[in-house]
Amino acid sequence: MAGREDKDILRSSKDLINQLSVVLRTAQIHDPNNVAVVSAVDRLVSIINTLLSQENIITLELRGEFFYLNDYRIRYSLEYLLNFDFLVREFKKRELGSVIFKLRIVPEDIKIFVKVFTESPYSESPFNTFEEKMTGVKSIEIGRLKKVVEEESFDVRKMVKKTYFNAVSYTKGVINKIKAGEKVHLKKAKRVVETMVDQILEEEQLLLGMTAIKDYDEYTYHHSVNVSILSIALGQRLGLSRKMLTDLGMAALFHDIGKMEIPPEVLNKPTNFTDDEWKIIRMHPVWGIKALLKLKKLDDLTVRSAIVSFEHHMNFDLTGYPKLRNPLELDFFSKIVSFADQYDAMTSARVYSRIPMGPDKALSIIMERAGTQLDPLLFKFFINMVGVFPIGTLVMLSTNDLGIVYESNQLFASRPRVMIIVDNKGNKVKGSVVDLTEKNVKGEYIRSITKTLDPNKYKINLAEYLL
């Protein structure tokens, strides 16, 4: 694609996604000759032909969880979030990976496409049926949904792991420098966060998976990075721009900076805190805002980070701490970071809460808090992001295999990819990852989750499996 036209086409991609979704939804309700269907088809034809006048071929491709238009990823944004999700779901149902518009199209071509699209999911092999019935339409070609190649996936995993540990290492370094009163430059922090933003946009589940690995010895640094990753991922779901995601990730990375001021003997105390010690703990948002405001010259990012650091323990219903003389509505970023913070803290073994919760248990508590301590709107997005069985959840399968949730499935929340760690004979095994959406020849699911268990209760080292 060429330069300036790229931008036009990317803008048009929104129209294409929206209109294709409108056509398919309308066709599911009405007869093909219904005026609503006809006018929606006409509009779609017009959009496609306009795009074809600029490009020779238009390819709409589903890769992983994202659509690409002529190799450019279409950004997930608020304007067409529902239509985007609808199309991803419907494409996957039909094993449909791409739709290629090669020649100028006419309404009749789209009508055939829509008819086949509507009928295909009910066949045994949806894509083959689809392909067969589309043979007569010369202007539209379709492609099968590509499975993620394991080897590629392995490389990506290595890259994600590198990003994660670089971030932890950087965070450790910067916190130690601040503690020592040394000057710190945040240029590197931005780079760290930008890399995480890119990976959330491309490999959301892999980076989210890294947050399930908890390191008690380096809790503070892992927690900061985890909260940053979870916040960026939630922000991405909320349709924030790359720039905003970076700001959010930065604010989240430094949200707990005030904890530097807590004396180590209090922070690392293995027993419960006294009232006086709690008073000290509750001061960390105040110390946090001060630390950030002293870090560098005031700019937009510092302002946002300082606000988040001050508010991340204040709740949606304005309870929490610090207590204010004049309470104000919470900042949007603070609400996001608060979600990420609570979830990661609940699922981590901290000094002052030695027994962490299983991810599913944490999620159910978060659900209880939605509407009081936590924003109910963000809860909906959060649950969509981490899935019903978040990565790291210990699960028993209907096949009597015990496994760990390895990757969530955005479309079938109850059917994630699971790594089997104990086989159905009770033997410890390592490695094989199964997809719970797999069906047998009768069209029945081969495996389903029957039970969840708390991995912490059994001292299961998630790093052993997820790294």
Binding site: N166, V168, F379, I383, M396
Partner: protein
């Protein structure tokens, strides 16, 4: 295209980068040299892309490679393009065929920045990342980001060391068959249009300025401050916030902070320490640092609502007079100067003496502005300072000060103005005359009348004489009337034409005074053979008879 040609074309592009880096720093975007440099660089890309879709440059510490061939090398620490890319982790840059001239310009602007300066907050990679180029891709080595070498390997090894015990796994497996553990009932909640609307509202709210919110938090910090260092720390944050707001042209935000600080200083229940520190913030808002920034904002053409600026000024202390006077001479636009002059008119009465120091400024226009401000303030305490300026070397200043003295009046003024009547410059003498008219005292009248009665008065130019008589009309009493009548009646033999001028002026003045008793004498001259006298007499009669 042969490889050697590709290499040559690539080298040309690298040279164009080096040239552009210099030119972009030196010239503004509308300069023809800037435009030409950009066009040349772009044409070199077009030339390359004619044969090849992509230009991939591999970055090494001291060299740049194209297809394993060196296209640039340098061992210098400064001005080394390879090192410039390399040190931030950039290892490969790809320019795709679709590269637009806009993208190229943005790229060149980014590589032209001086990243060693404190003001550039981001590094090269961040700048490229933020632009999100469609046709420029790059590969970076993020190892530069890790603070500790081999951190990943060590951390992973440590994490994996804590292997799960087999017994624990078996226990988990056994427990999984027990009934008490059930799947938690959390389900995916579908998003609705209403959710999206709510989200849209959140995003709109989020786009609003955050500094107001930060200020509210700072006030919370101020309220919980206990020690002097606590107060000082928070006050420092407020100062930074004020600086930030002014840089963003948000004067209203600063006024809001000052209004709250004022409430604290007026609050009987607030501690003395808190009040003292609140006062410091108010003083800071009128400091050199902030007022200079205001000057920059004003000159940048940023629109500031008059009411907002007025509200801001109301909270300022007399200490802000000096900083405002300082920027007065530095501002480039009339509009900004007008705003600052208005500010000083408001602030000046708080310290006339400081304001008057502006009269010593070496720039005539500043002195004139200060005189204008003093006149608008109208405080007689300014007279002593103004009198020292009467002998200023610039006639524009002299005129301004004479006018001001005339409006303010006062003891020493008459003497100074009287001296001005002797000034060699007509404009100064005229200004002094008008000033006497403004003063309108008996002493002033006496001086004017004495001057008119002086035997040398007749030698002045007609226009100047006329001004004397005009000023005299401010006093419509008998003494003036009688003097005018005397002049009308006076007969001379020598210098008759000069006498006619005096009579014409007196006639003109009688008309303006409006005493109809003068008609009889005026009528005597209405047919005078002297044109000037006839004309002025006629005009005076007409004014007396018809009231205009």
């Amino acid at each position: 295209m042969e490889l050697s040609e590709e290499i040559k074309a690539t080298k040309d592009i690298i040279q164009a980068f080096l040239k552009s880096k210099k030119m972009i720093r030196m010239y503004p975007p509308n300069n023809p040299i800037y435009v030409k440099t950009l066009e040349d660089c772009y044409s070199k890309f077009k030339n390359f892309n004619y044969y090849k879709d992509m230009l991939v440059l591999k970055i090494k510490q001291n060299e740049i490679l194209y297809d394993s061939e060196q296209v640039y090398s340098s061992v210098e620490k400064e001005d080394n393009l390879a090192l410039f890319f390399f040190k931030d982790g950039l290892r490969e840059i790809t320019f795709r065929q679709g590269l637009t001239s806009e993208e190229l310009e943005e790229f060149l602007k980014i590589i032209s920045l001086d990243y060693d300066r404190e003001v550039v907050d981001d590094d090269l990679v961040t700048m490229l990342w933020e632009k999100d180029f469609q046709n420029i891709q790059y590969i970076v080595d993020d190892a530069v980001l890790a603070d500790e070498e081999d951190y990943e390997a060590k951390a992973v090894a440590e994490l994996e060391e804590k292997a799960t015990e087999e017994d624990d796994l078996h226990k988990a497996y056994e427990d999984a068959f027990k009934k008490e553990e059930e799947i938690k009932e959390v389900s995916i909640v579908p998003l609705t249009d209403n959710d999206l609307q709510l989200l849209s509202g959140e995003l709109t709210k989020d786009s609003q300025d955050k500094i107001g919110k930060l200020n509210n938090m700072l006030f919370e910090l101020l309220y919980i401050a206990e020690t002097l260092p606590d107060y000082s720390e928070v006050i420092g944050f407020f100062m930074n916030s004020i600086d930030y707001s002014i840089r963003h042209g948000d004067i209203q935000m600063v006024t809001n902070v000052m209004a709250k600080m004022k409430q604290i200083t007026d609050d009987k229940s607030a501690s003395e320490d808190m009040k003292k520190h609140a006062k410091r913030v108010i003083l800071f808002a009128g400091s050199d640092q902030i007022v200079s920034l205001i000057g920059e904002i004003l000159d940048s053409g940023h629109e500031i609502e008059e009411k907002i600026f007025e509200d801001f000024i109301k909270f300022l202390d007399k200490s802000s007079i000096m900083p405002f006077m300082k920027i007065l001479g530095e501002l480039n636009t009339i509009h900004s100067r007008k705003i600052v002059i208005d500010a000083l008119i408001f602030l000046g009465p708080k310290d006339i003496m400081t304001l008057a120091t502006g009269l010593n400024d070496s720039r005539w226009y500043v002195v004139r502005n200060i005189i204008y401000i003093l006149r608008k303030i109208g405080d007689k305490r300014a007279v002593d300072y103004l009198l020292r300026t009467v002998k200023h070397g610039d006639i524009r200043v002299k005129k301004e000060v004479i006018r001001t003295l005339g409006e303010l009046g006062g003891a020493g003024v008459i003497k100074a103005l009287k001296d001005c009547l002797e000034d060699p410059e007509l404009q100064v003498r005229s200004a002094a005359l008008r000033a006497f008219g403004n003063i309108a005292s008996e002493a002033a009248k006496r001086i004017i009348m004495d001057r008119i009665s002086d035997k040398y008065f007749k030698d002045k130019d007609f226009e100047e004489k006329k001004e004397y008589f005009e000023v005299l009309t401010r006093w419509k009493d008998n003494e003036v009337y009688n003097l005018l009548m005397e002049i009308m009646k006076k007969s001379t033999f020598w210098g008759r034409s000069k006498s006619y001028e005096d009579k014409a002026c007196a006639a003109y003045c009688l008309g303006l005074i409006g005493n109809k008793e003068a008609l009889s004498i005026l009528n005597k001259f209405k047919n005078s053979s002297n044109n000037l006298l006839r004309e002025y007499t006629y005009s005076a009669i007409h004014r007396l008879e018809h009231g205009r």
